[in-house]
Protein backbone atom coordinates (compact mmCIF):
# COMPACT_ATOMS: atom_id res chain seq x y z
CA UNK A 1 0.00 0.00 0.00
CA UNK A 2 1.57 3.27 -1.06
CA UNK A 3 0.47 6.87 -0.85
CA UNK A 4 -1.16 6.96 -4.31
CA UNK A 5 -3.39 4.00 -3.52
CA UNK A 6 -4.18 5.36 -0.08
CA UNK A 7 -5.13 8.71 -1.57
CA UNK A 8 -7.34 7.05 -4.20
CA UNK A 9 -9.09 5.00 -1.54
CA UNK A 10 -9.67 8.05 0.65
CA UNK A 11 -11.03 9.93 -2.33
CA UNK A 12 -13.36 7.06 -3.19
CA UNK A 13 -14.58 6.85 0.42
CA UNK A 14 -15.18 10.59 0.46
CA UNK A 15 -17.12 10.35 -2.79
CA UNK A 16 -19.25 7.56 -1.32
CA UNK A 17 -20.17 9.62 1.74
CA UNK A 18 -20.95 12.63 -0.46
CA UNK A 19 -23.14 10.51 -2.76
CA UNK A 20 -25.02 9.06 0.20
CA UNK A 21 -25.60 12.61 1.40
CA UNK A 22 -26.99 13.68 -2.00
CA UNK A 23 -29.12 10.52 -2.16
CA UNK A 24 -30.61 11.35 1.24
CA UNK A 25 -31.46 14.82 -0.08
CA UNK A 26 -33.14 13.36 -3.16
CA UNK A 27 -35.09 10.85 -1.05
CA UNK A 28 -36.23 13.55 1.36
CA UNK A 29 -37.16 15.91 -1.47
CA UNK A 30 -39.29 13.28 -3.23
CA UNK A 31 -41.00 11.96 -0.10
CA UNK A 32 -41.45 15.03 2.05
CA UNK A 33 -41.10 18.28 0.11
CA UNK A 34 -42.50 17.75 -3.40
CA UNK A 35 -45.82 15.97 -2.70
CA UNK A 36 -47.32 19.14 -1.19
CA UNK A 37 -48.91 19.69 2.16
CA UNK A 38 -48.98 16.54 4.30
CA UNK A 39 -51.23 18.23 6.88
CA UNK A 40 -53.85 19.09 4.29
CA UNK A 41 -53.64 15.55 2.89
CA UNK A 42 -54.13 13.80 6.21
CA UNK A 43 -57.07 16.01 7.22
CA UNK A 44 -58.87 15.83 3.88
CA UNK A 45 -60.28 18.67 1.85
CA UNK A 46 -63.07 19.61 4.28
CA UNK A 47 -60.75 20.62 7.13
CA UNK A 48 -60.93 24.21 8.30
CA UNK A 49 -57.86 26.40 7.71
CA UNK A 50 -57.36 26.60 11.49
CA UNK A 51 -57.19 22.81 11.84
CA UNK A 52 -54.68 22.58 8.97
CA UNK A 53 -52.57 25.36 10.47
CA UNK A 54 -52.58 23.65 13.87
CA UNK A 55 -51.53 20.30 12.42
CA UNK A 56 -48.87 21.98 10.26
CA UNK A 57 -47.44 23.50 13.42
CA UNK A 58 -47.54 20.15 15.20
CA UNK A 59 -45.84 18.33 12.31
CA UNK A 60 -43.27 21.09 11.97
CA UNK A 61 -44.35 21.83 8.39
CA UNK A 62 -44.23 25.58 9.01
CA UNK A 63 -40.45 25.42 8.92
CA UNK A 64 -38.58 25.71 5.60
CA UNK A 65 -37.69 22.47 3.77
CA UNK A 66 -33.96 22.79 4.45
CA UNK A 67 -34.46 22.94 8.21
CA UNK A 68 -36.84 19.98 8.10
CA UNK A 69 -34.28 18.04 6.07
CA UNK A 70 -31.48 18.77 8.57
CA UNK A 71 -33.74 17.79 11.45
CA UNK A 72 -34.69 14.54 9.68
CA UNK A 73 -31.04 13.77 8.86
CA UNK A 74 -29.94 14.35 12.46
CA UNK A 75 -32.69 12.05 13.72
CA UNK A 76 -31.77 9.42 11.15
CA UNK A 77 -28.11 9.53 12.17
CA UNK A 78 -29.01 9.16 15.83
CA UNK A 79 -31.19 6.13 15.03
CA UNK A 80 -34.56 7.82 15.52
CA UNK A 81 -36.44 7.10 12.32
CA UNK A 82 -39.83 8.31 13.44
CA UNK A 83 -43.12 6.59 14.01
CA UNK A 84 -44.79 4.25 11.53
CA UNK A 85 -48.32 5.60 11.02
CA UNK A 86 -49.96 2.40 9.80
CA UNK A 87 -48.42 0.14 12.47
CA UNK A 88 -48.36 2.64 15.35
CA UNK A 89 -44.84 1.48 16.22
CA UNK A 90 -41.41 3.08 16.05
CA UNK A 91 -39.92 2.45 12.60
CA UNK A 92 -36.69 1.19 14.11
CA UNK A 93 -38.48 -1.64 15.98
CA UNK A 94 -40.36 -2.71 12.86
CA UNK A 95 -37.17 -2.80 10.85
CA UNK A 96 -35.14 -4.55 13.51
CA UNK A 97 -37.53 -7.50 13.35
CA UNK A 98 -37.19 -7.82 9.57
CA UNK A 99 -33.56 -7.05 8.76
CA UNK A 100 -32.14 -10.40 10.00
CA UNK A 101 -34.55 -12.32 7.73
CA UNK A 102 -33.48 -10.40 4.65
CA UNK A 103 -29.80 -10.71 5.56
CA UNK A 104 -30.30 -14.46 5.94
CA UNK A 105 -31.85 -14.65 2.49
CA UNK A 106 -29.07 -12.52 0.99
CA UNK A 107 -26.36 -14.59 2.68
CA UNK A 108 -27.85 -17.88 1.49
CA UNK A 109 -28.09 -16.49 -2.04
CA UNK A 110 -24.50 -15.26 -2.02
CA UNK A 111 -23.29 -18.57 -0.63
CA UNK A 112 -24.92 -20.50 -3.47
CA UNK A 113 -24.47 -18.07 -6.34
CA UNK A 114 -20.80 -17.09 -6.00
CA UNK A 115 -19.26 -20.60 -6.40
CA UNK A 116 -21.70 -21.56 -9.16
CA UNK A 117 -21.11 -18.33 -11.06
CA UNK A 118 -17.33 -18.60 -10.75
CA UNK A 119 -17.34 -22.17 -12.05
CA UNK A 120 -19.60 -21.29 -14.96
CA UNK A 121 -17.66 -18.13 -15.80
CA UNK A 122 -14.20 -19.69 -15.63
CA UNK A 123 -15.42 -22.83 -17.39
CA UNK A 124 -16.86 -20.96 -20.33
CA UNK A 125 -13.76 -18.75 -20.56
CA UNK A 126 -11.59 -21.89 -20.79
CA UNK A 127 -13.74 -23.36 -23.53
CA UNK A 128 -14.15 -20.08 -25.33
CA UNK A 129 -15.91 -20.38 -28.68
CA UNK A 130 -16.82 -24.01 -28.03
CA UNK A 131 -20.21 -25.61 -27.71
CA UNK A 132 -20.45 -25.38 -23.91
CA UNK A 133 -19.43 -21.74 -24.00
CA UNK A 134 -22.01 -21.00 -26.69
CA UNK A 135 -24.75 -22.68 -24.69
CA UNK A 136 -23.78 -20.97 -21.42
CA UNK A 137 -23.57 -17.63 -23.17
CA UNK A 138 -27.09 -18.06 -24.57
CA UNK A 139 -28.36 -19.34 -21.23
CA UNK A 140 -26.93 -16.46 -19.18
CA UNK A 141 -28.06 -13.86 -21.72
CA UNK A 142 -31.57 -15.28 -21.41
CA UNK A 143 -31.52 -15.39 -17.62
CA UNK A 144 -30.36 -11.77 -17.37
CA UNK A 145 -33.44 -10.73 -19.35
CA UNK A 146 -36.03 -12.78 -17.50
CA UNK A 147 -38.20 -11.12 -14.84
CA UNK A 148 -37.84 -12.60 -11.32
CA UNK A 149 -41.52 -13.42 -11.10
CA UNK A 150 -41.34 -15.66 -14.18
CA UNK A 151 -38.56 -17.71 -12.58
CA UNK A 152 -40.46 -17.75 -9.29
CA UNK A 153 -43.74 -18.80 -10.90
CA UNK A 154 -42.17 -21.59 -12.92
CA UNK A 155 -40.17 -22.79 -9.91
CA UNK A 156 -43.29 -22.92 -7.74
CA UNK A 157 -45.21 -24.73 -10.49
CA UNK A 158 -42.53 -27.35 -10.97
CA UNK A 159 -41.23 -27.94 -7.44
CA UNK A 160 -44.21 -27.12 -5.25
CA UNK A 161 -47.28 -27.87 -7.36
CA UNK A 162 -46.23 -30.68 -9.70
CA UNK A 163 -43.53 -32.46 -7.72
CA UNK A 164 -44.68 -31.38 -4.26
CA UNK A 165 -41.13 -31.32 -2.88
CA UNK A 166 -41.17 -27.83 -1.43
CA UNK A 167 -43.68 -25.45 0.08
CA UNK A 168 -44.69 -22.46 -2.00
CA UNK A 169 -44.76 -20.07 0.93
CA UNK A 170 -41.83 -19.21 3.15
CA UNK A 171 -42.15 -18.67 6.86
CA UNK A 172 -38.81 -17.85 8.38
CA UNK A 173 -40.06 -18.28 11.95
CA UNK A 174 -40.69 -22.01 12.29
CA UNK A 175 -37.31 -23.43 11.41
CA UNK A 176 -36.04 -26.16 13.67
CA UNK A 177 -34.00 -28.49 11.46
CA UNK A 178 -31.61 -28.05 8.53
CA UNK A 179 -34.08 -29.90 6.31
CA UNK A 180 -36.78 -27.36 7.12
CA UNK A 181 -34.29 -24.59 6.39
CA UNK A 182 -33.69 -26.00 2.91
CA UNK A 183 -37.40 -26.48 2.28
CA UNK A 184 -38.11 -22.87 3.27
CA UNK A 185 -35.23 -21.19 1.51
CA UNK A 186 -34.85 -23.32 -1.61
CA UNK A 187 -37.35 -21.53 -3.85
CA UNK A 188 -36.58 -17.89 -2.94
CA UNK A 189 -32.84 -18.52 -3.10
CA UNK A 190 -33.15 -20.38 -6.41
CA UNK A 191 -35.10 -17.49 -7.92
CA UNK A 192 -32.63 -14.88 -6.73
CA UNK A 193 -29.68 -16.97 -7.85
CA UNK A 194 -30.86 -17.31 -11.44
CA UNK A 195 -30.41 -13.65 -12.33
CA UNK A 196 -27.35 -13.09 -10.15
CA UNK A 197 -25.49 -16.18 -11.34
CA UNK A 198 -26.10 -15.11 -14.93
CA UNK A 199 -24.76 -11.58 -14.33
CA UNK A 200 -21.79 -12.75 -12.32
CA UNK A 201 -20.71 -15.54 -14.64
CA UNK A 202 -20.84 -13.25 -17.68
CA UNK A 203 -18.63 -10.70 -15.95
CA UNK A 204 -16.28 -13.41 -14.65
CA UNK A 205 -15.96 -14.85 -18.14
CA UNK A 206 -15.12 -11.41 -19.51
CA UNK A 207 -12.52 -10.82 -16.78
CA UNK A 208 -10.78 -14.17 -17.38
CA UNK A 209 -10.86 -13.78 -21.17
CA UNK A 210 -9.35 -10.33 -20.79
CA UNK A 211 -6.36 -11.99 -19.10
CA UNK A 212 -6.21 -14.90 -21.56
CA UNK A 213 -5.80 -12.40 -24.40
CA UNK A 214 -2.72 -10.80 -22.83
CA UNK A 215 0.86 -11.42 -24.02
CA UNK A 216 2.06 -13.19 -20.87
CA UNK A 217 -0.56 -15.90 -21.36
CA UNK A 218 0.54 -16.30 -24.97
CA UNK A 219 4.11 -16.67 -23.68
CA UNK A 220 2.98 -19.35 -21.23
CA UNK A 221 1.12 -21.13 -24.03
CA UNK A 222 4.17 -20.99 -26.29
CA UNK A 223 6.40 -22.56 -23.67
CA UNK A 224 3.91 -25.42 -23.42
CA UNK A 225 2.05 -24.89 -20.17
CA UNK A 226 -1.16 -26.90 -20.00
CA UNK A 227 -4.45 -25.12 -20.49
CA UNK A 228 -5.76 -25.76 -16.97
CA UNK A 229 -2.52 -24.53 -15.47
CA UNK A 230 -2.58 -21.37 -17.61
CA UNK A 231 -6.04 -20.50 -16.40
CA UNK A 232 -5.60 -21.45 -12.74
CA UNK A 233 -2.01 -20.35 -12.11
CA UNK A 234 -1.43 -17.55 -14.61
CA UNK A 235 -4.70 -15.89 -15.55
CA UNK A 236 -6.82 -16.28 -12.40
CA UNK A 237 -4.51 -14.52 -9.90
CA UNK A 238 -4.51 -11.50 -12.19
CA UNK A 239 -8.25 -11.64 -12.73
CA UNK A 240 -9.04 -11.71 -8.99
CA UNK A 241 -9.61 -7.94 -8.86
CA UNK A 242 -12.08 -7.76 -11.76
CA UNK A 243 -13.81 -10.91 -10.48
CA UNK A 244 -14.21 -9.47 -6.96
CA UNK A 245 -15.55 -6.34 -8.64
CA UNK A 246 -18.02 -8.48 -10.62
CA UNK A 247 -19.16 -10.33 -7.49
CA UNK A 248 -19.85 -7.11 -5.55
CA UNK A 249 -21.66 -5.50 -8.47
CA UNK A 250 -23.79 -8.57 -9.16
CA UNK A 251 -24.73 -8.86 -5.50
CA UNK A 252 -26.02 -5.30 -5.67
CA UNK A 253 -28.70 -6.58 -8.06
CA UNK A 254 -29.99 -8.56 -5.07
CA UNK A 255 -31.50 -5.35 -3.77
CA UNK A 256 -33.91 -5.09 -6.69
CA UNK A 257 -34.63 -8.81 -6.93
CA UNK A 258 -35.37 -9.23 -3.24
CA UNK A 259 -38.33 -6.82 -3.52
CA UNK A 260 -40.13 -9.12 -5.94
CA UNK A 261 -39.02 -12.38 -4.34
CA UNK A 262 -40.07 -11.47 -0.79
CA UNK A 263 -43.48 -10.42 -2.09
CA UNK A 264 -44.16 -13.49 -4.20
CA UNK A 265 -43.04 -15.93 -1.50
CA UNK A 266 -44.63 -13.93 1.30
CA UNK A 267 -41.26 -13.78 3.03
CA UNK A 268 -41.18 -11.54 6.13
CA UNK A 269 -38.17 -9.43 5.19
CA UNK A 270 -37.35 -5.77 4.94
CA UNK A 271 -38.32 -5.48 1.24
CA UNK A 272 -41.86 -6.78 1.76
CA UNK A 273 -42.13 -4.37 4.70
CA UNK A 274 -41.20 -1.57 2.33
CA UNK A 275 -43.71 -2.64 -0.33
CA UNK A 276 -46.44 -2.63 2.35
CA UNK A 277 -45.28 0.80 3.50
CA UNK A 278 -45.50 2.12 -0.07
CA UNK A 279 -49.00 0.67 -0.48
CA UNK A 280 -50.12 2.31 2.81
CA UNK A 281 -48.15 5.49 2.06
CA UNK A 282 -46.43 5.21 5.42
CA UNK A 283 -43.78 7.83 4.68
CA UNK A 284 -41.47 7.49 7.70
CA UNK A 285 -41.15 3.76 7.05
CA UNK A 286 -40.61 4.28 3.29
CA UNK A 287 -37.85 6.82 3.96
CA UNK A 288 -36.06 4.59 6.43
CA UNK A 289 -36.25 1.48 4.21
CA UNK A 290 -35.09 3.44 1.15
CA UNK A 291 -32.09 4.85 3.00
CA UNK A 292 -31.21 1.37 4.25
CA UNK A 293 -31.37 -0.11 0.72
CA UNK A 294 -29.48 2.79 -0.84
CA UNK A 295 -26.75 2.52 1.81
CA UNK A 296 -26.43 -1.20 1.18
CA UNK A 297 -26.28 -0.61 -2.58
CA UNK A 298 -23.66 2.15 -2.29
CA UNK A 299 -21.60 -0.05 0.05
CA UNK A 300 -21.54 -2.91 -2.45
CA UNK A 301 -20.59 -0.57 -5.31
CA UNK A 302 -17.92 0.94 -3.04
CA UNK A 303 -16.51 -2.52 -2.30
CA UNK A 304 -16.50 -3.25 -6.04
CA UNK A 305 -14.55 -0.07 -6.74
CA UNK A 306 -12.10 -0.66 -3.88
CA UNK A 307 -11.41 -4.16 -5.26
CA UNK A 308 -10.67 -2.59 -8.63
CA UNK A 309 -8.31 -0.02 -7.09
CA UNK A 310 -6.50 -2.47 -4.82
CA UNK A 311 -6.01 -5.06 -7.54
CA UNK A 312 -4.55 -2.64 -10.04
CA UNK A 313 -0.85 -3.56 -10.11
CA UNK A 314 0.10 -0.26 -11.73
CA UNK A 315 -1.09 1.50 -8.58
CA UNK A 316 0.30 -1.10 -6.18
CA UNK A 317 3.84 -1.09 -7.46
CA UNK A 318 4.33 2.57 -8.14
Amino acid sequence: MNSTTLWLICRRLGAAVLTLFIVSMVVFAITAVLPGDAAQQSLGQFATPEQVAALRLKMGLDQPGVLRYLHWLMNLLSGDMGQSVSNAMPVIDLMAGRVPNTLMLAAATALVSVPVALMLGIGSAMGRGGRIDGFLSFFTLTMVAVPEFLVATLAVLIFAVNLGWLSALSYASDITSPWQFIRTYALPVMTLCCVIVAQMSRMTRAAVIDQLDSPYVEMARLKGVSKTRIVLRHALPNAIGPIANAIALSLSYLLGGVVIVETIFNYPGIASLMVDAVTNRDMALVQACTMLFCTAYLTLVLIADLCAILSNPRLRNQ
Binding site: T19, V23, T31, N245, S252, V278, V286, Q287, Y297
Partner: protein, 290 residues
Protein backbone atom coordinates in the same frame (compact mmCIF):
# COMPACT_ATOMS: atom_id res chain seq x y z
CA UNK B 1 -8.07 9.95 -13.14
CA UNK B 2 -10.04 7.70 -10.86
CA UNK B 3 -12.89 7.83 -13.36
CA UNK B 4 -10.94 5.51 -15.60
CA UNK B 5 -10.17 2.96 -12.93
CA UNK B 6 -13.45 3.03 -11.09
CA UNK B 7 -16.01 1.17 -13.09
CA UNK B 8 -19.59 2.28 -12.74
CA UNK B 9 -22.36 -0.28 -12.34
CA UNK B 10 -24.09 0.98 -15.44
CA UNK B 11 -21.20 0.82 -17.82
CA UNK B 12 -20.42 -2.72 -16.80
CA UNK B 13 -24.09 -3.63 -17.11
CA UNK B 14 -24.17 -2.45 -20.70
CA UNK B 15 -20.81 -4.02 -21.40
CA UNK B 16 -22.53 -7.35 -20.73
CA UNK B 17 -24.19 -7.08 -24.10
CA UNK B 18 -20.87 -6.96 -25.89
CA UNK B 19 -19.14 -10.06 -24.59
CA UNK B 20 -20.83 -12.62 -26.66
CA UNK B 21 -20.63 -14.47 -29.88
CA UNK B 22 -24.15 -15.79 -30.42
CA UNK B 23 -24.76 -17.25 -33.84
CA UNK B 24 -26.75 -15.15 -36.24
CA UNK B 25 -29.96 -17.16 -36.15
CA UNK B 26 -30.35 -16.36 -32.45
CA UNK B 27 -30.25 -12.70 -33.37
CA UNK B 28 -32.89 -13.33 -36.01
CA UNK B 29 -35.08 -15.16 -33.51
CA UNK B 30 -34.67 -12.21 -31.15
CA UNK B 31 -35.59 -9.74 -33.90
CA UNK B 32 -38.64 -11.84 -34.83
CA UNK B 33 -39.83 -11.86 -31.20
CA UNK B 34 -39.42 -8.06 -30.99
CA UNK B 35 -41.35 -7.52 -34.24
CA UNK B 36 -44.09 -9.87 -33.11
CA UNK B 37 -44.61 -8.02 -29.83
CA UNK B 38 -44.50 -4.68 -31.63
CA UNK B 39 -47.26 -5.89 -33.98
CA UNK B 40 -49.31 -7.23 -31.06
CA UNK B 41 -48.93 -3.89 -29.28
CA UNK B 42 -50.07 -1.96 -32.37
CA UNK B 43 -52.87 -4.16 -33.67
CA UNK B 44 -53.70 -6.34 -30.63
CA UNK B 45 -56.55 -4.28 -29.18
CA UNK B 46 -58.38 -4.37 -32.56
CA UNK B 47 -57.80 -8.05 -33.16
CA UNK B 48 -58.73 -9.22 -29.67
CA UNK B 49 -61.57 -11.78 -29.97
CA UNK B 50 -63.47 -10.54 -26.88
CA UNK B 51 -63.86 -7.15 -25.15
CA UNK B 52 -61.07 -6.93 -22.61
CA UNK B 53 -63.21 -6.53 -19.47
CA UNK B 54 -66.01 -8.93 -20.40
CA UNK B 55 -66.58 -12.12 -18.41
CA UNK B 56 -67.06 -14.70 -21.14
CA UNK B 57 -66.80 -18.05 -19.40
CA UNK B 58 -68.21 -19.65 -16.27
CA UNK B 59 -64.98 -21.49 -15.68
CA UNK B 60 -62.27 -19.51 -13.92
CA UNK B 61 -58.62 -20.42 -14.54
CA UNK B 62 -59.71 -22.53 -17.49
CA UNK B 63 -57.03 -24.41 -19.41
CA UNK B 64 -56.27 -23.90 -23.08
CA UNK B 65 -59.21 -24.66 -25.36
CA UNK B 66 -60.44 -23.88 -28.87
CA UNK B 67 -62.87 -21.24 -27.61
CA UNK B 68 -60.31 -19.57 -25.33
CA UNK B 69 -56.88 -20.32 -26.83
CA UNK B 70 -54.98 -19.08 -23.76
CA UNK B 71 -57.56 -20.06 -21.15
CA UNK B 72 -59.52 -17.76 -18.85
CA UNK B 73 -58.50 -15.62 -15.90
CA UNK B 74 -59.65 -15.38 -12.28
CA UNK B 75 -63.01 -13.89 -13.28
CA UNK B 76 -63.55 -15.99 -16.40
CA UNK B 77 -62.31 -13.37 -18.87
CA UNK B 78 -60.55 -14.37 -22.09
CA UNK B 79 -56.76 -14.42 -21.49
CA UNK B 80 -55.83 -13.97 -25.16
CA UNK B 81 -57.75 -10.68 -25.35
CA UNK B 82 -56.31 -9.47 -22.07
CA UNK B 83 -52.76 -10.21 -23.17
CA UNK B 84 -53.25 -8.54 -26.55
CA UNK B 85 -54.48 -5.38 -24.82
CA UNK B 86 -51.97 -5.59 -21.96
CA UNK B 87 -49.07 -5.84 -24.40
CA UNK B 88 -49.87 -2.35 -25.66
CA UNK B 89 -49.35 -0.95 -22.15
CA UNK B 90 -46.14 -2.89 -21.55
CA UNK B 91 -44.53 -2.20 -24.94
CA UNK B 92 -45.94 1.30 -25.36
CA UNK B 93 -45.01 2.64 -21.93
CA UNK B 94 -41.54 1.13 -22.03
CA UNK B 95 -40.92 2.40 -25.57
CA UNK B 96 -41.96 5.96 -24.73
CA UNK B 97 -39.91 5.91 -21.52
CA UNK B 98 -36.84 4.40 -23.24
CA UNK B 99 -36.92 6.95 -26.08
CA UNK B 100 -37.34 9.82 -23.61
CA UNK B 101 -34.58 8.50 -21.33
CA UNK B 102 -32.14 8.06 -24.20
CA UNK B 103 -32.98 11.45 -25.71
CA UNK B 104 -32.64 13.20 -22.37
CA UNK B 105 -29.42 11.37 -21.49
CA UNK B 106 -27.82 11.93 -24.89
CA UNK B 107 -28.83 15.61 -25.04
CA UNK B 108 -27.38 16.24 -21.60
CA UNK B 109 -24.22 14.38 -22.63
CA UNK B 110 -23.79 16.49 -25.78
CA UNK B 111 -24.55 19.64 -23.80
CA UNK B 112 -22.03 18.82 -21.12
CA UNK B 113 -19.29 17.93 -23.63
CA UNK B 114 -19.49 21.26 -25.47
CA UNK B 115 -20.15 23.28 -22.30
CA UNK B 116 -17.70 24.99 -19.95
CA UNK B 117 -16.10 22.71 -17.40
CA UNK B 118 -18.20 23.80 -14.39
CA UNK B 119 -21.48 22.96 -16.15
CA UNK B 120 -20.11 19.61 -17.29
CA UNK B 121 -19.08 18.86 -13.71
CA UNK B 122 -22.48 19.92 -12.35
CA UNK B 123 -24.46 17.74 -14.78
CA UNK B 124 -22.17 14.77 -14.19
CA UNK B 125 -22.46 14.97 -10.39
CA UNK B 126 -26.25 15.23 -10.58
CA UNK B 127 -26.45 12.20 -12.86
CA UNK B 128 -24.12 10.28 -10.51
CA UNK B 129 -26.49 10.91 -7.60
CA UNK B 130 -29.45 9.53 -9.53
CA UNK B 131 -27.48 6.50 -10.68
CA UNK B 132 -26.80 5.63 -7.02
CA UNK B 133 -30.47 4.99 -6.29
CA UNK B 134 -31.47 1.51 -7.51
CA UNK B 135 -34.27 1.88 -10.08
CA UNK B 136 -36.79 -0.15 -8.06
CA UNK B 137 -36.15 1.95 -4.94
CA UNK B 138 -36.65 5.17 -6.90
CA UNK B 139 -39.86 3.78 -8.40
CA UNK B 140 -41.12 2.74 -4.95
CA UNK B 141 -40.54 6.15 -3.36
CA UNK B 142 -42.00 7.98 -6.35
CA UNK B 143 -45.17 5.88 -6.14
CA UNK B 144 -45.40 6.30 -2.36
CA UNK B 145 -45.12 10.07 -2.71
CA UNK B 146 -47.28 10.78 -5.76
CA UNK B 147 -49.50 7.73 -6.18
CA UNK B 148 -49.28 5.56 -9.28
CA UNK B 149 -50.29 6.82 -12.72
CA UNK B 150 -49.12 6.25 -16.26
CA UNK B 151 -47.39 9.65 -16.40
CA UNK B 152 -45.62 9.00 -13.11
CA UNK B 153 -44.42 5.56 -14.26
CA UNK B 154 -42.91 7.10 -17.39
CA UNK B 155 -41.27 9.91 -15.38
CA UNK B 156 -39.84 7.37 -12.94
CA UNK B 157 -38.42 5.18 -15.69
CA UNK B 158 -36.87 8.22 -17.39
CA UNK B 159 -35.33 9.42 -14.10
CA UNK B 160 -33.89 5.96 -13.43
CA UNK B 161 -32.49 5.25 -16.87
CA UNK B 162 -31.51 8.65 -18.32
CA UNK B 163 -28.36 8.86 -16.13
CA UNK B 164 -27.06 5.57 -17.56
CA UNK B 165 -27.69 6.76 -21.11
CA UNK B 166 -25.94 10.00 -20.17
CA UNK B 167 -22.83 8.21 -18.92
CA UNK B 168 -22.47 6.06 -22.02
CA UNK B 169 -23.17 8.88 -24.47
CA UNK B 170 -20.81 11.22 -22.61
CA UNK B 171 -17.93 8.77 -22.56
CA UNK B 172 -18.23 8.34 -26.33
CA UNK B 173 -18.79 12.04 -27.01
CA UNK B 174 -15.68 13.01 -25.03
CA UNK B 175 -13.59 10.76 -27.27
CA UNK B 176 -15.10 12.16 -30.46
CA UNK B 177 -14.73 15.71 -29.18
CA UNK B 178 -10.97 15.24 -28.89
CA UNK B 179 -10.61 14.27 -32.58
CA UNK B 180 -9.03 16.64 -35.08
CA UNK B 181 -12.08 17.32 -37.21
CA UNK B 182 -14.02 18.58 -34.21
CA UNK B 183 -11.10 20.79 -33.25
CA UNK B 184 -11.03 22.06 -36.85
CA UNK B 185 -14.74 22.84 -36.69
CA UNK B 186 -14.18 24.70 -33.47
CA UNK B 187 -11.28 26.72 -34.91
CA UNK B 188 -13.46 27.44 -37.94
CA UNK B 189 -15.78 29.22 -35.50
CA UNK B 190 -18.75 26.85 -35.59
CA UNK B 191 -21.32 27.28 -32.86
CA UNK B 192 -21.59 24.79 -29.99
CA UNK B 193 -24.98 23.52 -31.12
CA UNK B 194 -23.57 22.81 -34.58
CA UNK B 195 -20.60 20.93 -33.15
CA UNK B 196 -22.84 18.85 -30.90
CA UNK B 197 -25.50 17.97 -33.47
CA UNK B 198 -23.59 17.84 -36.77
CA UNK B 199 -20.07 16.79 -35.77
CA UNK B 200 -20.55 14.59 -32.69
CA UNK B 201 -24.09 13.17 -32.70
CA UNK B 202 -23.95 11.24 -36.02
CA UNK B 203 -20.81 9.47 -34.82
CA UNK B 204 -22.30 8.21 -31.58
CA UNK B 205 -25.79 7.53 -32.91
CA UNK B 206 -25.33 3.79 -33.54
CA UNK B 207 -24.17 2.85 -30.04
CA UNK B 208 -26.76 5.22 -28.58
CA UNK B 209 -29.52 3.36 -30.44
CA UNK B 210 -28.16 -0.01 -29.25
CA UNK B 211 -28.15 1.35 -25.72
CA UNK B 212 -31.75 2.49 -26.20
CA UNK B 213 -32.71 -1.10 -26.99
CA UNK B 214 -31.05 -2.39 -23.81
CA UNK B 215 -32.73 0.34 -21.80
CA UNK B 216 -36.10 -0.64 -23.30
CA UNK B 217 -35.55 -4.16 -21.93
CA UNK B 218 -34.66 -2.88 -18.45
CA UNK B 219 -37.69 -0.58 -18.41
CA UNK B 220 -40.04 -3.43 -19.40
CA UNK B 221 -38.66 -5.37 -16.42
CA UNK B 222 -38.98 -2.38 -14.07
CA UNK B 223 -42.54 -1.47 -15.08
CA UNK B 224 -43.88 -5.00 -15.10
CA UNK B 225 -42.18 -5.56 -11.73
CA UNK B 226 -43.98 -2.53 -10.35
CA UNK B 227 -47.29 -3.71 -11.81
CA UNK B 228 -46.64 -7.13 -10.32
CA UNK B 229 -46.35 -5.46 -6.90
CA UNK B 230 -49.67 -3.70 -7.53
CA UNK B 231 -47.92 -0.33 -7.73
CA UNK B 232 -47.73 0.07 -11.50
CA UNK B 233 -50.55 0.29 -14.05
CA UNK B 234 -53.77 0.50 -12.04
CA UNK B 235 -57.06 -1.39 -12.68
CA UNK B 236 -59.18 -1.45 -14.77
CA UNK B 237 -56.19 -1.11 -17.12
CA UNK B 238 -53.72 -3.95 -16.98
CA UNK B 239 -50.27 -4.48 -18.44
CA UNK B 240 -48.60 -7.88 -18.57
CA UNK B 241 -47.22 -7.49 -15.03
CA UNK B 242 -50.69 -6.72 -13.64
CA UNK B 243 -52.01 -9.84 -15.37
CA UNK B 244 -49.51 -11.98 -13.46
CA UNK B 245 -50.50 -10.28 -10.21
CA UNK B 246 -54.25 -10.57 -10.58
CA UNK B 247 -54.07 -14.26 -11.46
CA UNK B 248 -51.64 -15.23 -8.71
CA UNK B 249 -54.45 -17.23 -7.07
CA UNK B 250 -54.23 -19.71 -9.94
CA UNK B 251 -50.66 -20.66 -9.08
CA UNK B 252 -51.66 -23.66 -6.98
CA UNK B 253 -53.56 -25.17 -9.90
CA UNK B 254 -50.88 -24.31 -12.44
CA UNK B 255 -53.32 -22.14 -14.40
CA UNK B 256 -52.16 -20.84 -17.79
CA UNK B 257 -53.56 -17.44 -16.75
CA UNK B 258 -50.51 -16.84 -14.55
CA UNK B 259 -47.83 -18.62 -16.58
CA UNK B 260 -48.64 -17.09 -19.96
CA UNK B 261 -48.37 -13.37 -19.13
CA UNK B 262 -45.11 -14.08 -17.27
CA UNK B 263 -43.82 -15.99 -20.30
CA UNK B 264 -44.98 -13.13 -22.53
CA UNK B 265 -42.78 -10.64 -20.66
CA UNK B 266 -39.93 -13.14 -20.76
CA UNK B 267 -40.12 -13.62 -24.53
CA UNK B 268 -40.24 -9.85 -25.07
CA UNK B 269 -37.17 -9.07 -22.96
CA UNK B 270 -35.24 -12.12 -24.13
CA UNK B 271 -36.01 -11.17 -27.74
CA UNK B 272 -34.71 -7.65 -27.19
CA UNK B 273 -31.54 -8.91 -25.51
CA UNK B 274 -30.76 -11.50 -28.19
CA UNK B 275 -31.30 -8.94 -30.94
CA UNK B 276 -29.22 -6.21 -29.27
CA UNK B 277 -26.48 -8.71 -28.42
CA UNK B 278 -26.27 -9.72 -32.07
CA UNK B 279 -26.16 -6.09 -33.23
CA UNK B 280 -23.40 -5.07 -30.84
CA UNK B 281 -21.26 -8.16 -31.38
CA UNK B 282 -21.43 -7.56 -35.14
CA UNK B 283 -20.41 -3.95 -34.69
CA UNK B 284 -17.46 -4.80 -32.46
CA UNK B 285 -16.26 -7.34 -35.03
CA UNK B 286 -16.51 -4.80 -37.83
CA UNK B 287 -14.61 -2.18 -35.87
CA UNK B 288 -11.71 -4.59 -35.33
CA UNK B 289 -12.68 -6.05 -31.97
CA UNK B 290 -13.28 -9.75 -31.55
Amino acid sequence: MSNIIVKSPTTSKSALGKISHGSSWLGLVGAAMCVMWLLVAIFGPWLAPHPVGEVVSDNIFDSLSAAYPLGTDYLGRDMLSRIMVGARFTVGLALVAAVLASTLGTSCALLSVVSPKWLDELISRLMDAFISIPSKMLALIMVSAFGSSVTLLICTAVLSYAPGAFRIARSMAVNIEALEYVQVARTRGERRLYIACVEILPNILNPVLTDLGLRFGFIVLLLSGMSFLGLGVQPPDADLGSLVRENIGGLNQGAPAIVIPALAIGTLTIGVNLFIDRLSSRRSRRSGGH
